[in-house]
Symmetry: C2
């Protein structure tokens, strides 16, 4: 069946959106069918996949009055990658969702029929940099959580916050099946000791949950979004593209094992 994975970290700028887009396109190259759901009002995953921000086409209405999301799914330029886009108003719906009954389950209700239809191999949820209602909904709707983690000190401080939230969501009964898919180290800068130290410390705390693959800091990854292209189209031979291809194979192997 379909596996739903939330990509979240409340620390900003750690590579959540870059990981969602790159993982989706690399898995599509390996023949998988992927749906990306952009839950961030900034709609970076939407523009990074080359689609315009379209007011009125996001999950906003579906979250408040659960309806099938088929009508919201759009094709992207990448074979095997579809998208539910975001819009700015998504930020406003957090206050409205908070007043709904079972406010944590709005997204799960909308995604469940799709997940059960096995139309996609993976559904990837790109979360905003906060632990607000949209991220909580994503964790409640997910089978597992992937945490991109920048090789910097502030990001290290925040890692236990998101993993504690995973435990709370699991233990509260909101989503008993939720587990940690893994921790992906990003923006690894070979020129500094700091990156090595952070990786060492994360491996000590999280052991095997940390992927082997280290995503290097690579300027081509930050150039690609300005062309609305994933790294595999923008510069297929870059160190960023190679690292995400390596990661996507490691991700599939591990995801299949559970």
């Amino acid at each position: 069946g379909t596996k739903t994975v939330g990509i979240a970290n409340q620390k900003g700028g750690v590579g959540k959106t870059t990981t969602v887009i790159s993982l989706a396109t690399c898995m599509a190259e390996l023949g998988r069918d992927i749906l990306v759901v952009d839950l961030d009002p900034q709609s970076n995953a939407t523009s990074g996949l080359g689609l315009p921000r379209q007011e009125g086409r996001s999950l906003y209405r579906a979250l408040l009055n659960p309806m099938p999301i088929d009508s919201l799914i759009q094709k992207t330029a990448i074979e095997g990658v579809d998208l539910v886009p975001a819009e700015l108003d998504l930020a406003g719906c957090e206050v409205e969702i908070a007043r709904a009954d079972e406010y944590l389950h709005c997204l799960a209700k909308v995604l469940r029929p799709l997940a059960e239809s096995s139309r996609y191999d993976f559904i990837l949820l790109d979360c905003p940099p906060s632990l607000g209602i949209l991220t909580m909904n994503a964790l409640t709707a997910s089978d597992s959580l992937l945490v991109p983690m920048q090789c910097e000190y502030y990001a290290l401080e925040g890692l236990s916050v998101i993993t504690n939230l995973l435990d709370r969501i699991k233990q509260s009964g909101a989503n008993p099946r939720l587990r940690l898919e893994g921790v992906l180290m990003t923006m690894f800068d070979t020129r500094t000791n700091l990156a090595e130290q952070v990786v060492k410390e994360v491996r000590e705390h999280f052991g095997d949950a940390v992927y082997e693959t280290l995503i290097p800091r690579n300027v081509r990854l930050s150039e690609a979004p300005s062309f609305g292209q994933p790294i595999t189209l923008y510069d297929s031979h870059s160190s960023g593209a190679r690292a995400y291809r390596f990661f996507s194979r490691e991700f599939i192997k591990r995801a299949r094992a559970h």
Copy 2:
């Protein structure tokens, strides 16, 4: 009197906290008295200034039952820089504040007596990466807004979002005096064309609002927080320390002009 400046940008990881800490310490070197208020539940400004995250010592209670904040102010290791720390529970208070009357003015009420006492030359508010209740409170309590802006494409997309919010807060009457203090370009990487293009585009849209100073990408800035020190103590001769010292003089000159 005291000037209150909100440092905000909903895009994550653009250098908000680094700018708050660096600007505070560089202005203290020039003899100013600065209060930093950490409004981010991640409490990075608190740890970056060398203080532990202390549950029960943040603004949380003061925002819900307005009380003088003198008891929350802590001294830091830097002469001339005081801090109101953050704690994780701050995230929880957004939902509670939303239910309060005049929910946008909670922070303004708490800070007003302090601003009127002229005990500090500047009060700097470090905001979380979102446009939620805490950031809206910060903009309502501020005289002006400083927007750190990473020299990357996704950050460029988001710039009009925060400046539109400034206009709405001003025009709605929530804070008629609010103005744009300026846009500071951060993490400028001299090795890439992308950074040059982004700076050029921002200057075209925002003209003189963009500071002359460009903060370079400098690994020493990302190492300093792991020692709980601002850049001026950690590596006073680094390109990061020099750039923020240059910026602090430009900031004071412009702030005094209004």
